[in-house]
Symmetry: D2
């Protein structure tokens, strides 16, 4: 199945729908093909929590956004797809000064629900800093 939206389409859609996440060019969709996608969030000091590690809310927001991108990439510009559940395991400390990468994969695309997993990485280290599974509800179309 070909992706329903190109990276340029997704980028424009996200800027319109989620201006908070995408302002000042901090979020880049590196690729999205209807089954997988990769997002990069440029490092900023606002991501840190006490101890100098990347905060949980930063990672949860990025993972949720990656799920949204992969669902849009698979089904097209449906603004009303909404997260119904999200589970995150925090694995390692993300390092100050490094971008955060989200690699998402669709596990299932049904008529009503899409389920995916997102691996979160810090800079170029291969060891994930967090792992997320999430479910999106797809509106009747």
């Amino acid at each position: 199945m070909a992706p329903r939206m190109t990276v340029a389409d997704l980028d424009a859609f996200l800027r319109a729908e989620l201006p908070g996440m995408t302002s000042n060019g901090s979020l880049t969709i590196e690729c999205a093909d209807g089954k997988t996608c990769r997002l990069r969030q440029r490092y900023s000091d606002q991501m840190l929590r006490p101890g100098g590690t990347i905060s949980g809310p930063t990672l949860m927001a990025l993972a949720d956004c990656a799920m949204y991108v992969i669902v849009l990439s698979a089904i097209g510009p449906v603004a009303l797809a909404v997260t119904t559940s999200l589970n995150i395991n925090f694995l390692r400390r993300g390092v100050a000064g490094h971008d955060v990468i989200a690699e998402a994969k669709l596990l299932k695309l049904g008529r009503r629900l899409a389920v995916g997993e997102v691996t979160l990485l810090s800079g170029s280290s291969p060891d994930p800093i967090a792992h997320v599974t999430a479910t999106y509800s797809i509106p009747n179309m």
Copy 2:
């Protein structure tokens, strides 16, 4: 067991540790007794996502913060307690214009792990808009 920190202690600690969450007085700890706590986040338009509903990342960040407050309230000012996992179910749409309330309860306080649940409410409606369970790792002391 008496709480290890009063609401005033918790408030000062949070302002120092999580300035992003607490800036401009948007977050209030209404009560915390070592077993339960209630937080209120004042409504702002920045909480919204497309469709005019309260965004998932807003709810996840608030729930994570409520878990941190309840753990601090139970064990004292341990900045290095960290979330190890968080599971959220989104139940109803939070309404624009209303504060978001987080009511947290400790399910277990062990030597290594604390587990709690957080109910998220929109304004004064009794029906939860989201439900969270989360686990915190407690450092050796």
Copy 3:
């Protein structure tokens, strides 16, 4: 909203649909009112895992069954309602020789999804041994 099925209805339905869980009278539905329910599983040595504690699969199976009972109690005899996700936190050791109790509560009953939580108890202790949230998909009717 009145429950759609009485405890006697639910009991007969469960015996027909889940004979493995209900054989030899080991599972009792103590109450079910369309919003909450309580199930009791009679202790047997087959519940134990190494160390003499109640096994995880025993608790997960009982929680899944309690969610099924509460959904049936709310929407009527729909055999094809299926679990879409389940999250369990194991909190304390269940004790050999004691029945396991499941207290379930509906958090949301939508047209497509039902979400609930289940507290698992060992004998008469008030401290939960596990806590579950689960989502059921409701077929079009």
Copy 4:
């Protein structure tokens, strides 16, 4: 890091510790190398739930067992490692007549916690029927 236990070691350990899962040769450890493992559960009619699909409790019990095997494979014969949380998403119907396969991967092996994911497959289909993440607590050694 070399695995601490061979498949033969793991098989003997599991037969002693979890006789209920391994009786009558229904469960086979196909491989385990300290980072990944694959288990096969031979099909039996007792796995079915109404509608002729593989039951949720069957999948949860197998996933929990696969996590136990991978943790043992990584850290050696520690009977007291216990599951602290498990999250499962049910994706597709498992088919009557086919074995169920569990492919597990360690996401993190810390001093206190091990986190892994398990993909559950039905027969030779490449599409997973369920996806699990789980956390094990590792006792002080």
